[in-house]
Symmetry: D3
Subunit: 239 residues, 6 copies
C-alpha cells in the first residue's frame, strides 16, 4: 500500500522504499541532477521512509492585499491543497525559510492524513508539533512555531515550481525521504533511478557483509575487485 496511482508508479514506489537517498542521489547525479537533495530540514520521524509525489505550495511574506485575494478564493491555500490531495501525495511547501509562523496545524493535517497524504516537506514551520509528532506522518521541517500563518506569511501559489531547501521542486516530482532528508526525483527519470538505486543497494549490502568478515581491505571491496564482483555474481545466483 504505497499510495501509487497505477502499477507503473507502484513499481517505482516499492523499489524506492527499499533504497536510501544516497543510492538514489547517485543515480540522479549521474543523470544530470546533482542538485536534488533538500538540505537543512529536520526529520521528525527519522525511522520512517517516505515515498510519494509532490504537491507544491508557495507562501510569501504577509501582506493585506494578498490576504484579501486569497480569501476571495473561498478557502486558504493549505486547505485547497489538502482537499486536492489523495493517497501518495506529499505537500512541499516553500515558505522561504520563515520559521516565525506555522503554515498548517493539526486539524487541517488530520484531513490530509484521512485523504491518504504520505508526508510533508516544509522550508519553513508547522504548528502543533506536540501532537503531530505522535501521528506517524513523515515530517521534514525547518522549525515549528505556535503562531498561525497570518503572523508572517500568506499563500500565493499552488502547484508552481518552488524552491525548497536549496532544490527546485516541480509538481509531480517523486520524493524519497529517509533519516537524513528528502530527494526530489524528476518524474521522467524516476523509473530508472528506482531500478538502478535498488541494484546499488543490493550490491552494497553484499559489500558491507563482505567487509564484515574482516578479511578484505576497503580497496578490494569498494569499488569491488574482479574477484569480489565474481563473488557477488555468485551471491546473486544462489542467494
Amino acid at each position: 500500500m504505497t499510495g501509487a496511482r497505477d502499477p507503473e508508479e507502484g513499481a517505482i514506489f516499492e523499489k524506492l522504499l527499499q533504497v536510501s537517498t544516497d543510492s538514489a542521489w547517485a543515480v540522479c547525479s549521474s543523470m544530470g541532477y546533482p542538485n536534488s537533495f533538500i538540505e537543512g530540514l529536520t526529520a521528525i520521524q527519522p525511522d520512517r521512509k517516505m515515498v510519494g509525489r509532490a504537491i507544491t505550495l508557495r507562501y510569501v511574506p504577509i501582506r493585506p492585499d494578498l490576504r484579501a485575494q486569497e480569501q476571495a478564493k473561498g478557502s486558504a491555500l493549505n486547505k485547497r491543497a489538502v482537499e486536492l490531495s489523495g493517497p501518495g501525495d506529499i505537500l512541499v511547501v516553500d515558505s522561504g525559510g520563515e520559521t516565525g509562523a506555522g503554515f498548517i496545524g493539526d486539524v487541517i493535517l488530520t484531513r490530509f492524513i484521512v485523504r491518504g497524504g504520505a508526508g510533508l516537506v516544509v522550508d519553513g514551520a508547522i504548528r502543533d508539533l506536540h501532537y503531530l509528532r505522535t501521528v506517524g506522518l513523515p515530517l521534514y521541517i525547518r522549525g515549528a512555531h505556535a503562531a498561525g500563518s497570518g503572523r508572517r506569511i500568506i499563500g500565493i501559489g499552488l502547484n508552481e515550481v518552488v524552491r525548497c531547501g536549496g532544490v527546485a521542486v516541480v509538481p509531480g516530482d517523486i520524493l524519497l525521504g529517509d533519516a537524513q532528508g528528502v530527494l526530489a526525483i524528476p518524474r521522467e527519470i524516476a523509473r530508472e533511478v528506482a531500478d538502478r538505486a535498488y541494484a546499488t543497494e543490493h550490491k552494497e549490502n553484499f559489500l558491507r557483509a563482505t567487509l564484515q568478515k574482516g578479511i578484505r581491505t576497503i580497496d578490494e571491496v569498494y569499488p569491488p575487485s574482479d574477484e569480489v564482483l565474481r563473488e557477488y555474481e555468485e551471491f546473486k545466483r544462489h542467494g
Copy 2:
C-alpha cells in the same frame, strides 16, 4: 501537583497542562500579545509539558570588574536564583544567545530540582547535558557546552525584564512549554488564556475526530459549519 502557589494559580496551571502552545498563543495574540512564543531553542524533554512562573536571570559577556562585583554579593547569580526558587518556578536565562559556555551545571540544578523547580529556558547553554537529560526536568536550551560560565559570561541581573528567543519575558510571567517550544504569558491575562485555550483544545479535539470519520471536508469542519457546531454542542452535552 503543579507547583502552584494558590488555588487561582493552580486552576490556571491545571488547564494549561492540557493545552498546546498553539491554542494558548492564539488567545495571547488575540489579546494583543502576538510576539510571545520563544523561538530557536531545543526541547530536551519533548514528551513533557512544562508549566510554571518565570524567575529571570541576565548574563552579559565576561569582564573582570563585573565578576568582582558579582563575587562581592557573596554568591554567584545562578546560585542566588536557585535558593530564591520554589515549587513551580522556572529559570529563564538571557545569555544573549551565547553557546560557548554553560550558565549552570548538574550540582546547582540538583538543588533547583530539590526546591521544586519546574523547568529551565535558556537563550544560551547549560553544562552537564549528559546527566541532566536523564533527570526529567523540562529543558529548553540553545546549546550545551562543557565550559563553565566564566569562559564567556557573567551574571548581572536577577528578576529583570529579559530578552529570550526573540520574546520579552517579565518576572512572574506564566510559561507553557511543549515539544515545539515555550510561550510566555503575561500574568494579567493568564487566567483568560488558560480558559479560552482549554475551550479551543476541547473543540479542536472534536473537530479532528470529526475529520477522522472521513466524510466531511476541511471547509465544513475548520472553521466548523453551523451543522458541525451543532454536533459539537451535542457532543459537549452528552460526552
Copy 3:
C-alpha cells in the same frame, strides 16, 4: 575493552569513560587549554560515551587538479585513513563546515568498524545516516547529505593539525565524547586530566547526593563547606 594500545593508555581510557566532558574540560582549562571543547556538532548516539585517539583528515573545496593528485595516490583519503586505523581510533574530519556532501558512507565506515574504530567527529557531513545511526558507532556530525564528497570537497591531508568545531585537533589527541559534544585532550596532559576529572566526578556525585537530601543550601555544598568536605572524606573512607 577500550581499544587502548597499552596499559597506560588503557588506564586513561577507563577513567575517561567514567567522567563527563565538563569535568574533563575543567581540568584542561586549569592546565592552559580552555579552548578544547568542539562546538556545533550533533551527537547521533547521545547515550553512548566515546573515548579514543584522533586520526585527522583535512578536506578542501573540490577542484579537479587536486582530485587528480588524490587519485594518483591510489586510493581516496577516507579509505587510506580507514586502512590506517585500528582499535580505539577516531576519525576527526575538517571539512570546513561544508554540509553539502558527505565525506564517507556506509561501506567505508563498515571497514572502519571492523578495524575497531571508536568514533567519528566531522565538521561537515556524512552520508547514509539512515543506516549508520543504527550501528552504534558514536557519530558527531554537523549534518548528513545524500551526495558523495565529489559534489563539494576533496581530501588533501592525513594526520595534519586540523580545525574542527572551533578547536585545533592534533593527531594523537585523546578524545572524550558524551551527549553534549567532544573534548580534545592533548596527549601530554591526558593522564592528569583523567585522574583529576575522575576525582571531581566522584566528589560531585557525592555533592549531588548531599543536596538531594534537601537539607543543605547550594552555598554550603558547592563549593563544599569544611563540614561537607569532612562528610565527603568520611564517605570516601567508608564507601
Copy 4:
C-alpha cells in the same frame, strides 16, 4: 524626468523623490502595510534616490529540465524582462538569497539602462560589479559573484508575486529606495503615501531646524507641542 507613465504617476514619483523611506514607511504602516521595507540588501549607490515600478523575476535552484523549458521560450528570463521594460521600471529579483551566482551582468544591464530602467533590487547576486558600480544605476543587492546564473539558478517566473528581502512584492508596486534600502508601496495606496510622507518630511525638516536652535527639548518638539505646531503653521504660511 522620472520615468512616470502618466501625470498621476509623475506626481507620485516627484513627491517620493523628496521623501525618505522612513517617512513613507510610517504612512504604509498606518495604512496596514508595516511589512514593506526590504531588508538585508546593500545599496551600491547610497547617494542616489530610486523611484519606479516593479517588474518581478523569480529564480529557483538550477535543474536541467527547467533550463530546457526556459530555453524553449527563446530567450532567458532576464533578457525577456529587460526587453519588456521601459522608463521607470525596476527589476525586482527573487533568487532566494542565493549569492553563489549572478542573475545578470553588464551587457544585459546596458540594454536595461538604454530602455530607461530605473533600478535593480536583487535578493541574490549580480555579476560585473566592477563595471556596474560606475554606471550610476541604483543597485540593491545581497552580493556580487563572478559566476553566471547557470552555476546555481534558473529563471522560472516573470511578473509573479515574489519574496524579496522579507517582503512580498507585487508587479506594479511603486518602489522607493534610499541609502538604507527599498520600500515596496502597493500601487493602490501610493498616492496617499507620497502625499502624507511629503507632508511629514516637510514638517520634520522644520522640527530639526527648530531643535538646531538649541532652545527647545525633544519633548517639546517631537511630537510638537501646541506652540511648536503654531510656529510650524506660521512657517508654512511665510516660508
Copy 5:
C-alpha cells in the same frame, strides 16, 4: 574640543584620539580585559575617530504591557537618554541585534547632536540613514531600517550594564572608535590605557618608518632588536 568634563578626562580623550583601537586593545588585554572590542557593527563614518563616555540603553522585544510602562514614564527611552546627555556622551544601545526596526531617527538625533553627543553604537538598527550619514556624527550600527522601534522593540533600561557586539558595556566606560570598530575601556584603567597606547603608537610609527627604508627585516624590527631600540631612543631625544 573633546567633550571632556574635566582636565583629567580631557587628557585621556586627547591621547585616545591619537591611537588606534588596536594599540588600546593591546593595553586593555594586558590589564585583564581582552574581551573589550565590539564586533559585528559597521562604521558609517570610517574616516572619523570617536572618543567619549557611554550612556547605555536596553531594548527588548515589543510587548504592550512594557510599552504602557514606558509611556507612563512620560517620554520614550531614547528621548530621555538624549535629554540626559551632554558633550562627550555616546549612546550605546543593546537591541539584541534586532535590525527589523530603528531605535532612533533624525529628529531625536538632531537634539543629541545639539547637546554635544559624540557618537552612537547600536547593536541593532537606526532609522533615517539617508540623512544621518551626512551629518558627520560617528555611527556604529548593525543595520538601518525604515520602521520605527514600535514594530519590534521597546526601551526597558537606562544606564544599566548592557551587551553590545559581544562585549559588556558599563555606563561611564570610555569608548574609542575608529574605522574597524569600537573599544570599551573601563573608566578605572582609561588613563593607563591612553598613556601606554599612545607610547605604543609613537613607537610603531617609528618602526613602520624604519621598515619603509627597506633595509631591516621584520624580525629585526618587530619586536625591535636592541639596535633598533637604541635608534628609537635616539629618535625620541632628537625628534
Copy 6:
C-alpha cells in the same frame, strides 16, 4: 610593473589587469574550474585591480602547545611569510572564517609592502584597518578586529593547499581581484584564461557600445547575431 617574475608571467598579469573576474571565471569554468571565485569577503579597495600569485597561510584555533611549536621556529608564521614574499606575491590566509582576532597588523604589513607584496586575501580578519585602508594595498577580508592573533588563532602551515571563501587555493595560483572579489586561477591554465578572458572583454565592450546606440535588442546582441559578429570583425580590423 606588475610584479611578474618573467615575461611569460608578465604577459599573463598584464592581460588579467584588463579583464573582470567575470570574464576570467567564465573561462575557468569552461576549463573545469567552476568553483574558483572566493566568496564572502569585502574589498577594501574596490577601485583597484589586484593581480599576483598566492602564498598561503593556514591558521587554526589557538592552543598553547601549538604556540610553543610556532615559537620554536624562531618567528611567527605571518612574519616568515612576509620575509619569503617578493614582488607580485599575495598572501592568502585560511583563518577558518574567524573574525575575533586579526592575523596581521600595520607593522608587519609595512614590511610586506616594502618587499613588493601585491595584496591580501583573508578568510578571517586583519588588525589596524584604520591605517591599512589608507595605504592602497588591495585587501579582501572577512572582517577587522583590534585583537592580535593570540586571542583566537595560531599559525600552523605555510604554502599548503588551503580553504578560502569556499575555494581551494594552491600555492602559486594566479589571483585576480576586482570590486566584487577574487578569482583563484590554477597556474597551468592561467595563460589561456588571460588570453580568452581578454578576448571576451574586448568583445563585450563592443557589444555594450552597440547596445548603447539603442537600436538593437538584447537578443540580437548577446550572444551576437551573425550581423553583429560581422560588425565586430569590422571593428577589430579598423579600430
